[in-house]
């Protein structure tokens, strides 16, 4: 029994040490403008940073106004540090916006979600 647990510990530690990359479910770690925040002026682009490595081909984001009207943007681009960049076609008017995102992490796990931010009048 002592040996069994030691073996398992050794296996666990060994695999912990050999693996170098993080593959898991990607969750939104940080956004610009921030999740649930109020900012004073329209940013040039929306940035969404995830907790894990994401696959650009299967990851994207879009935004709508509180009334549901689509916000014109460029195509989402994955930059360094697992950040999705979503260029805005023109400056956003004051109001609340809803951003929807979907990503696939490198281990094929899908996650998706929405969040709001507000531009102050």
């Amino acid at each position: 029994m002592k040996h069994a647990s030691l073996l398992i510990a050794a296996t666990g530690l060994a695999s912990f040490l050999v693996s170098t990359q993080a593959f898991a479910h990607a969750f939104l770690n940080h956004a610009e403008p921030g999740v649930g925040t109020i900012v004073n002026a329209s940013p040039p682009e929306l940035q969404l940073t995830f907790t894990e490595d994401i696959v650009a081909a299967f990851s994207g984001a879009s935004a709508v106004t509180a009334g549901g009207a689509p916000v014109p943007t460029g195509k989402a681009v994955v930059g360094p540090a697992n950040t999705l960049h979503l260029r805005l076609a023109h400056a956003l008017k004051p109001g609340t916006y809803v951003v929807s995102w979907h990503v696939v992490s490198v281990d094929t796990h899908h996650t998706q979600g929405t969040y709001k931010f507000t531009i102050a009048p």
């Binding site: 993080a22 939104l28 770690n29 796990h109």
Partner: protein, 319 residues
């Protein structure tokens, strides 16, 4: 150890303190941490090593009883994305007053997550576990393992409230577990009893991880934390044995409750809890629980950490 009723109560309290299995579960956008008092509701590839427990028992007359420290472990492996097996043990226990130590029995479990609804962050699963008699320290040890096996059917549930309309409610989640433990030997050679036990527990969680991703961005120091309040209780339901004056009642429910805090890292989770005994039969004063849980699905996603059969679980593949 003499299987006396006092000992049995102390052992029950200790069992409560050290018994849970550990794992983390993801359903939709919800990460259910590997909780300390009850198991989480999913199947996983994980290694809990170690799970530390400290609890002081009380005697029926109110004087302090045995102080116990234990280090438990568990290894969980998925066979398919919804079916997993695990092996573990309450591990090594050191007791003071009186001094004793020993290994607990090996426990194995097969668990099936039979219902999952990612959109509503809802999961139900069922398991059967077997604690195998005499697989720990021999009967000659100062703290021998139970000489009999125990079979336990289990039921689990988990619900995250990410689908709530009010933003303040969305980071909350609840989990629960109910076990029915049937010893294979009901009366020991010294005439003492091994009762059938109903064990039940729950956790109320507030996920800062969830709040940060979906409701309101938080500073980095907080956004991987899940504070919770949880508890576990055990009630003997059959084969309780006779009531003896001056001893704890063999019908008494024991349990611990308390606040806990989990940190969810990339490859591991750390959890700590203050365990408060609900009555004298459960313990003398506040004890502690802690666990380091290694996520093998994240550490070794293409080998050790993935199901033997079937694709890795893709909870939102249906959107």
């Amino acid at each position: 150890m003499i299987r006396h009723f006092t000992c049995a109560s102390a052992a029950a309290a200790l069992l409560l303190a050290a018994n849970p299995l550990y794992a983390h579960t993801i359903v939709g956008n919800r990460v259910f941490p590997a909780t300390l008092t009850i198991d989480d509701p999913g199947v996983n590839d994980e290694l809990a090593l170690p799970a530390f427990s400290y609890l002081q028992a009380a005697n029926p007359d109110g004087t302090p009883g045995t102080t116990s420290y234990s280090l438990a472990w568990e290894y969980a492996k998925t066979i398919t994305p919804d079916f997993g097996i695990s092996i573990g043990s309450d591990g090594y226990t050191w007791q003071r007053n009186p001094q004793a130590e020993g290994w607990s029995n090996i426990e194995t479990e097969a668990k099936f997550a039979f219902y999952q609804d990612p959109g509503h962050e809802f999961i139900m699963s069922a398991a059967v576990s077997a604690e195998i008699g005499n697989t720990g320290s021999p009967q000659s040890a100062s703290l021998p393992s139970d000489p009999f096996s125990t079979i336990t059917p289990k039921f689990f549930i988990g619900k995250g409230f990410g689908d709530a309309s009010a933003d303040w409610a969305r980071p909350f989640a609840v989990t629960g577990e109910v076990d029915y433990s049937i010893p294979t030997v009901t009366i020991n050679s010294d005439g003492s009893y091994n009762p059938t036990m109903l064990t039940y527990g729950a956790s109320l969680q507030y996920s800062l991880l969830y709040e940060n991703s979906f409701v309101h961005q938080l500073p980095d120091v907080f956004n991987r934390l899940i504070p919770a309040f949880e508890g576990i209780f055990s009630t003997p339901v059959a084969n309780q044995g006779p009531v003896i004056p001056g001893e704890f009642s063999p019908y008494e429910t024991t349990g611990v409750v308390g606040p806990s805090l989990y940190y969810i890292g990339q490859y591991f989770e750390i959890g700590v809890m203050a365990q408060v005994p609900i009555n004298r039969a459960s313990g003398d004063h506040v004890g502690a629980l802690a666990v380091l849980d290694i996520f093998l699905d994240d550490v070794a996603p293409t080998s050790l950490g993935k199901p033997l059969f079937g694709a890795p679980l893709s909870p939102l593949a249906r959107y």
